[in-house]
Symmetry: C2
Subunit: 197 residues, 2 copies
DNA sequence: CCCAACGCTGACGTCAGTGTCAGTTGGTAG
DNA sequence: CTACCAACTGACACTGACGTCAGCGTTGGG
């Protein structure tokens, strides 16, 4: 039974940690930085988390879960929206989430891998689950002639990587970050690739 | 005037460091790990590098330079190979390099960002230079009708990210790592995207 | 009003990893 | 044989981030 008080403090610490990690990266960030930003004493931190890796893992896992949660499976009923619109809506949700949480994009897509073997494993499992789900969707798409032929895992890897990089670049300001433009760019790429015909 | 002796030792240390970083990630890796793998005393390390970040930076910068160096600009002369073949050859070189250096793929594409602000800056400059070069190539391609219209920065971001993720996944074994298949997959994606027409 | 439970504090001891440097080794030239 | 020097060694002193815990306020139910 976590009291509302506890829950609030926990959230404050998570937000402070997110900002510190986004700013200094995992290595340079210290627990002292986090508690300082939170205006709280060192010991308090350890009432809520085991250590630096624990908060980091909580942040990243939570964000990945939110990303995964923003993806709805594509309905094929006669009264459902066209699959392409459902795909676009999924993309739009992910992009919106990312633009709402620029710090988490930096952390989860930029810093999270290679920090700790155990965390890597957890993230790999997330990724595998998401990948399997999308693979099935793609398979259906191929059966219905909506998705071109080819090795689905390779296609997925490229598509997911492309989206990730686009979001990273948008957050870093390397690229304009208008949500609609980003979604369009991805849709166009999925639709036509890069080369003319 | 670096003696061949010195140069050799330096290379040994770099290789040891690469293996350690690939295995344990940046955070968990220690200078002791590196010298142990190299069969050399602690002090020796500091005759060649300032500290852990210095070797890391040397490894990553060198790898990025090799990647950039494996990309040739696309010639348009009447006696040159078709642009698409030149593009494929560039891709093939990058893929070959990546498969020859799986450890460096993990490090450079997985761990390198967010480790240190100064290093991030250096990498960002690399990325920007490469991106600008490719942007010009793409612009020419658009003028010649070989590349479809659209915001080049966005297209590039997606394409580069897609390739990176594919290489990461290939190295991690999430995806078959046959070089030819990987090159084909990317070419198909650039050619046709993901969706059927 | 009381006090028990809860949340919080921050100084403190610990320790893993760091970087140094006085001393050793081994190859080479005179 | 000796003198030299570049390369190497590894014990040592040091650092700073870590996690703890005994004690201090605060809050709210009785």
């Amino acid at each position: 039974m976590t009291s509302p008080r506890r829950e609030l403090r926990r959230r404050q610490l998570l937000e402070a940690a997110r900002d510190v990690f986004a700013e200094k990266g995992y290595v340079a960030a210290t627990v002292d930085d986090v508690v300082a930003r939170c205006g709280v004493a060192r010991g308090t931190f350890y009432l809520y988390f085991d250590d630096k890796l624990d908060v980091f893992g909580a942040l990243v896992s939570d964000f990945f879960a939110r990303v995964a949660g923003s993806i709805r499976s594509i309905e094929l009923g006669a009264d459902a929206a066209p699959p392409r619109e459902q795909l676009r809506a999924n993309l739009a949700r992910v992009v919106t989430l990312a633009m709402d949480e620029p710090g988490m994009v930096k952390i989860a897509f930029g810093t999270a891998f290679g920090v700790d073997p155990a965390l890597d494993e957890r993230l790999a499992r997330f990724y595998a689950a998401l990948s399997t789900f999308m693979d099935e969707t793609l398979q259906t798409g191929q059966r219905l002639g909506l998705v071109r032929g080819g090795d689905r895992r390779l296609m997925l890897s490229i598509a997911i990587g492309g989206l990730q990089q686009l979001l990273r670049d948008a957050v870093d300001g390397h690229v304009p970050s208008d949500e609609h433009a980003l979604v369009d760019a991805v849709m166009d790429f999925l639709q036509s690739g890069l080369l003319a015909h």
